[in-house]
Point group: C2
Chain length 391, copies 2
Amino acid sequence: MNNFTFYSPTYFVFGKGEENRAGEMVKRFGGNKVLIHYGGGSAVRSGLLDRVKKSLENEGISYVELGGVKANPRSGLVYEGIDLCRKEKVDFVLAVGGGSVIDSSKAIAAGTVYEGDFWDYYTGKPVEKALPVGTILTIAAAGSEGSPDSVITNEDGMYKRGASGEAYRPVFSIMNPELTTTLPPYQTACGITDIMAHLMERYLTNTKDVTTTDRMIEGLMLAMIEEGPKAIKDPSNYEVRANIMWAGMMAHNNSCGVGRSQDWISHNIEHELSALYDCAHGAGLAVTFPAYLSLVYKHDIPRLVQWATRVWGCDENKENPEETIFEGIKRYRAFLKEIGMPLTLAEVGGKEEDIDALAHTACYGEGGDGKLYGFVTLDEEQVKEVYRKML
Amino acid sequence: MNNFTFYSPTYFVFGKGEENRAGEMVKRFGGNKVLIHYGGGSAVRSGLLDRVKKSLENEGISYVELGGVKANPRSGLVYEGIDLCRKEKVDFVLAVGGGSVIDSSKAIAAGTVYEGDFWDYYTGKPVEKALPVGTILTIAAAGSEGSPDSVITNEDGMYKRGASGEAYRPVFSIMNPELTTTLPPYQTACGITDIMAHLMERYLTNTKDVTTTDRMIEGLMLAMIEEGPKAIKDPSNYEVRANIMWAGMMAHNNSCGVGRSQDWISHNIEHELSALYDCAHGAGLAVTFPAYLSLVYKHDIPRLVQWATRVWGCDENKENPEETIFEGIKRYRAFLKEIGMPLTLAEVGGKEEDIDALAHTACYGEGGDGKLYGFVTLDEEQVKEVYRKML
């Protein structure tokens, strides 16, 4: 196991009706003037935003608002948010939404107190300070409510890049599974796929003898395999939503990823899909991950056999372990299909003739040196091969 | 799933040599004058204490020392520590040791800044403030390095009681698995047993549909079943020690216990054993848990069948599910025996003629109303029955 530090100081408030504690939480963490940042109209229509405002007002906390965050949140709105926060002397950013809203909020929180261009943080500069961010989560997916990460799409070229730093851990996250029971099945499935992908990126490690985190990841995947299809069939089931919501946080706050190398190549490959075709991140991952696995599994046959047998319940074929792995990938695909996810490039709006450009941007996009590094090292030709496996 | 809050703000510094960062960490969390609290001579003999002192000195931090913490830490030393901290104007307590040292440190940290008797916190008063506590962990077991809990034995009657509160979460915990490679096999096994018991106490729930936390607990138990015997056979194996150490923290910081009722009756029953016979807490738990399960399993047959099949790999006997559970308990006992744990009352120095008194103290000891409440409700007669099952 590698040496590591782990610091997850977010105060999680989980359960029915807990959004009404937004004011109490902002106060607890020192906020006086809040930016409420949100996405489209659903937070307005559902009355959630009104409940949040009322909760702030009850504590005597003033606020300004900025809506309009889209999936794959854009740099343009971040700049707008930074200007607003500076002008209004905002000292706390409250994200009301899913991963995109939270990621956008983190970028605004950092950019407001940074003299340079916030995009510096998305090209390698460690995030050292930011306004405190609180979240009210409305979709179980990205895990941004408990993570030190943020991903933003730069509109000047439509490429996605991530930033990370302790200052990006939300000071509190309110997680009410009720808020997710009205999500459309497609978005629900995208969230589940993202959670599975976060677990897979940690599972694909080159660190040996990491039994404890392996078993935790496997446990969380088994929970998703059990609960995922239930959420599609019975969207209003609170218990199912609650299990998925806690798993989404645990999958990405890194308690199951410490001390081990992680992969993240699939996320890089996917980012080009959602940036170019503006497909949902989860949908892009559903297309990417099985394709990627079917290319790279040979790098560590025992690990992938372990995955197939423990997570997907495959019988181990000792004479032909690859068969076991193929069966695991097959079951992974079947699971994604069952919850309504796409499995091919065409289904997310992709075209075969774009593959060269996709692979090139993935390998040479901002900061790239022509290769992708993680569980394996892929050159541009191999990245093309992953995209071709999506056809 | 029940509503809950989860707040685990401890900064974990994990890995080889990390005790040399003690000074840096104390400084980070505002300590100027430190009480170094420790147990017997092993921290001295191994040179650990000297490395810690040097690290503090390098940061210009002054300190006083108080050693002598025993297993099942006593109230007398806590009072001594409180007097010392007040006299020396200590503002930070640094625990160098295992669960007993950490629990004693927490009690001193709370007592120093409380006008009344610290024991108030151990008879129901919530812990609201305490000096910051940092830990340097030397045994994977109690999970106190990441928990808000502390257990102290009152020497005035030799009874153990627990206290809990956010102020009891360590601000940092340095976890170097190397420090545990010199532990005797018996202490190692006691630690593993304690970790398993912390998981079991959470697994025995009356909350329905808690798939995610069930799967996490099962995963951590599977890791212990795999790594535990390796630690006994090959004590110096760093990777094995590292897996056990992280599992010990995860088992008890409550990320796998949120939103569900928990049991803790076995801990109550065990506390009387270690208080009366001064046996190791882990050894007492090894004797208690299988005995307890064999009495209460009928309360939720499906849950215990799930445990036996998923954790112990038992085949499910659908016609006679009790057989599956018995096989699971048998394998649990075999595991405990394999790592060198006692399984009977006599092995921890207990006597049949003490059973009435043990059960009476467990049920009517300070604050008791004659019953133990948790996964089931046990009256005094049933508690006696648990003790008799240890014969």
